[in-house]
């Protein structure tokens, strides 16, 4: 009796799955609001200000290594092209894996900030700053865009 060897012909393609495409969601949630500013009087907004600090939200898969870079404007622009100088101190950036304002980890917003996405998959970035109007600062509304760039650096 012969053994019947039956070998299934196996054919096909075995492909190692490519590394999963990293999905990042980044949104701006709140403007950095200096409010009413008086000529000649600098106005500071702390990153812990509950209503005026700028805020972004980042979502990504837990464990994803991310790098955050803020493109900070040197000034806001107002009526007739008038400029209102802005400065950002080394502790004007804040990172928190939680939604609690006071649990921020400070960072220098003038430099990239790297972190690993925690298990909740969501973090927030806070931003403070100082506006310095001159005594002759023209009255009116001033604004400038503050762009956050988030990149995956490891996974």
């Amino acid at each position: 009796m012969r053994l019947l060897c039956s070998i299934l012909c196996c054919s096909g393609l075995l492909m190692a799955r490519p590394l999963a495409a990293q999905s990042i969601q980044a949104v701006g949630e709140r403007d950095l609001r200096f409010g009413t500013v008086f000529p000649g009087l600098p106005e500071q907004v702390l990153r812990t200000d509950a209503t005026r600090a700028g805020r972004y939200r980042i979502r990504a898969r837990a464990g994803t290594g991310l790098s955050v870079r803020l493109v900070l404007p040197a000034a806001m622009v107002g009526p007739g092209g008038a400029t209102l100088p802005l400065t950002f101190a080394a502790d004007d950036g804040g990172y928190t894996p939680l939604f609690f304002l006071n649990f921020q980890i400070p960072f220098d917003p003038n430099a990239p900030y790297n972190f690993s996405m925690p298990f909740l998959g969501t973090v927030r970035i806070y931003l403070g700053g100082t506006a310095t109007p001159s005594f002759a600062q023209p009255g009116g509304t001033y604004s400038a865009a503050v762009v956050m760039i988030v990149a995956v650096v490891s996974n």
Partner: protein
């Protein structure tokens, strides 16, 4: 007869590509509203008029000859007001008349006699107040003083300068 099926095995191994770097951007705005600078004007001089040699003459802030400054600025803005006050009026040939006993009155759109009294000081903040609540309001500050002739001064016109400075406090 046993047939043997050919063994065929095809295995293709495809390695995944390296991790793809992705970047996302998000934007917020930095915003501010700057109040218009306060406009301060000296409108009326403090006029002592004729002063008899060897006498004193007082012009109170409520007098029609008192000096008047006006302030126009951001509505409801809190301001500090300070002065630089002359100690003397200078006249012909180096003669001087002493000036002291400064008095003041202030108020939004206030006429003389209808404002609140204060004492102007030389240097430092003399007054902290809020400007009017309506755009276009004029805040008036009146100043008066006393001039003293010690006697023997040269006759003629005597003058001095009063400076008033207004600063927003941000409060």
């Amino acid at each position: 007869m046993t047939k043997r099926t050919p063994l065929g095995l095809a295995l293709v191994l495809s390695l995944g590509t390296a991790a793809t770097l992705q970047a996302q951007t998000a934007s917020i705005n930095a915003t501010a509203r700057v109040l218009s600078p306060a406009v301060v004007s000296g409108v009326e001089d403090l006029r002592f008029g004729d002063v008899i040699d060897g006498t004193q003459k007082t012009i109170p802030a409520t007098n029609s000859n008192s000096g008047r400054f006006t302030i126009q600025g951001a509505t409801n803005a809190n301001v500090d007001i300070s002065f630089t006050l002359p100690a003397t009026l200078a006249g012909p040939g180096g003669s001087t008349l002493a000036v002291d006993n400064w008095t003041g009155e202030h108020g939004n759109n206030a006429a003389r006699g209808a404002g609140a009294a204060f004492t102007p000081l030389n240097g430092g903040t003399s007054l902290n107040t809020d400007l009017g609540a309506t755009s276009g309001d004029v805040y008036n500050v009146y100043v008066g003083a006393r001039v003293t002739s010690a006697g023997g001064e040269n006759p003629g016109a005597y003058t001095g300068q009063i400076d008033m400075t207004v600063s927003y406090t941000g409060n």
